[in-house]
């Protein structure tokens, strides 16, 4: 039982770090890039020149986070309905539990 618990703990920790720490970091990268794109007041050192091209990276980061949140909601809905998310088709679909 202890071995079983430990293997569970490792899995939750790995998933937690990937999604729970990884996604906020991607979000932070998005905020960082948008500040870089804006320049001036948005930067800690005022008067920094804006770099508009960074906006693309910033928006891409936020899009990744939004997508992950949508997956999270789909996951909650799926488990509530007694189904599970399947990635068998390369994109997520609801499937019956095995």
């Amino acid at each position: 039982m202890i071995a079983l618990a430990l293997s569970g703990i490792w899995k939750v920790l790995a998933a937690g770090l990937l999604f729970g720490a990884g996604l906020p970091t991607v979000f932070a990268l998005g905020v960082r890039s948008l500040a870089l794109a804006e320049g001036g007041e948005a930067e800690a050192t005022p008067g920094t020149r804006p770099h508009p091209s960074a906006r693309v990276l910033g928006i891409a980061c936020l899009a990744v986070v939004l997508l992950a949140v949508a997956l999270g909601i789909a996951f909650i809905v799926a488990s509530g309905l007694g189904k599970e998310l399947s990635f068998g088709h390369g994109y997520p679909t609801f499937a019956d539990k095995e």
Binding site: L4, V12, V31, A35, F75
Partner: protein, 410 residues
């Protein structure tokens, strides 16, 4: 005599349903803070808006839980067979024996939830429920009536479903939140504080909403399972595969109403007491909580939203350089966690002895009156130093906040 029996059976069933819904209500307001305390503390959401959002998401989440949660009680006590139906020995006399155990278990859970709320301590509602049920089961069926350990090839019983997750989950969540907070501050180190603060508020509200939704799907179905078990035991329902519509509706509404009332005392401790939280930390904490709750429920591990949320908030204080963590407050919380299960169990056992000694219709009725008296007493005590939407964010000077701040009421 037959007439008397029907009256008794109806009375105890009604009392079980009402008490279960009351438990669901305390479950709601005890846990509002898990999702919303950080958003309220950083000002990302106004207090009333935060509890409304959380209540709506809990309601939606509760309706999403179609899967039957009938075996919830089965994880810790031996009152059901594998299909979820109550064991035959307990279903004579319209299930009186089983209903008394459930009633007293629920009373134990509610009393402990109210006491910890009064003290402003975020303790686990599921532990309180399990503790109460374990206590009344030990009183009613003896020590052998409780599943202390699982079968060995799965995580089950009190040890696997309650104690191990309680030890592991706050540490995991805290670690994830600490790493997340550290990375977020590293990445945004050159960004002006006002710009970062604005951006992270969005992330914070989004991640807190996920926690609320997950809470609704997880917790409301526990009460649904308990009420359905009671209905089956008394012969009012026979389908072990589904929950009556009115049960689902009333549980969802009770939990949402509790969430909307907002356990301001607990919210205050979580949002202001443990750590002074800024938006980036709030987002890191709620993201960690959401990720840990969702991944462990996917892997089939039972855990308490409260333990995860508290661990995350502590972690986010550890992860930010120079942030103050009030370890004294954290210590009080850990003590509350440790005694939640036995304390709720003692209340469950004592009320069972009382109800069983009186027997008949008087037993459950007196148990219910004891619950009402204790609840009224604690509510009156809370009025001496009320915490509400208007003073929930006042500077931390210990729990609960001073009555002087009452004038700021919104």
């Amino acid at each position: 005599m037959l007439y008397f029996c029907t009256v008794t059976a109806t009375l105890i069933l009604v009392l079980v349903v009402v008490t279960a819904l009351a438990f669901d209500f305390t479950n709601g307001f005890h846990d509002t803070g898990n999702a919303m305390a950080t958003s309220i503390a950083t000002g990302a959401l106004r207090p009333k808006v935060a509890v409304l959002l959380s209540a709506v998401l809990n309601l939606v989440g509760a309706f999403l839980s179609v899967e039957v949660a009938l075996t919830v009680t089965n994880a810790v006590i031996k009152v059901q067979d594998d299909s979820g139906a109550p064991v035959p020995e307990l279903t004579s006399d319209h299930g009186y024996a089983l209903l008394l155990i459930i009633l007293c278990g629920l009373v134990g859970g509610i009393v402990w939830n109210l006491l910890t709320w009064l003290l402003g301590l975020p303790s686990s509602s599921s532990h309180a429920l399990f503790g109460g049920l374990i206590g009344s089961t030990v009183a009613g069926l003896g020590w052998a009536g409780v599943k202390w350990t699982g079968s060995g090839d799965e995580l089950g019983g009190v040890l696997g479903k309650v104690i191990l997750p309680a030890l592991a989950s706050p540490v995991i969540a805290g670690l994830v939140a600490a790493v997340g907070t550290w990375l977020v501050y590293r990445v945004t180190s050159g960004v002006a504080e006002r710009f970062a603060e604005r951006g992270f508020r969005w992330g914070q509200v989004g991640s807190a909403s996920l926690v609320s939704l997950a809470h609704g799907t997880n917790d409301a179905q526990k009460t649904m399972g308990v009420i359905t078990l009671a209905l089956i035991a008394s012969g009012q329902w026979s389908d072990t595969e589904s929950v009556p519509v009115w049960v689902k509706l009333s549980c969802a509404l009770a939990m949402a109403a509790g969430t909307y009332i907002g356990g301001w005392r607990v919210i205050r401790t979580l949002g202001k007491g443990l750590v002074e939280i800024a938006s980036p930390q709030g987002m890191a904490a709620e993201s960690a909580a959401a990720a840990v709750i969702l991944s462990s429920s996917h892997l089939g591990f039972a855990l308490s939203t409260t333990h995860v949320a508290t661990g995350s908030i502590l972690g986010t204080g550890v992860g930010k350089r120079g942030a103050e963590v009030r370890w004294g407050v954290a210590g009080r919380m850990v003590v509350a966690w440790l005694i939640t299960l036995p304390a709720a169990g003692v209340v469950g056992a004592l009320t069972w002895y009382l109800g069983n000694a009186l027997g008949g219709a008087a037993g459950p009725a007196v148990v219910f009156l004891v619950l009402l008296a204790l609840a009224t007493f604690m509510w009156l005590r809370s009025r001496r130093a009320p915490v509400h939407a208007g003073n929930v964010n006042d500077d931390w000077q210990g729990t609960p906040s001073t009555p002087a701040s009452k004038e700021h009421a919104a």
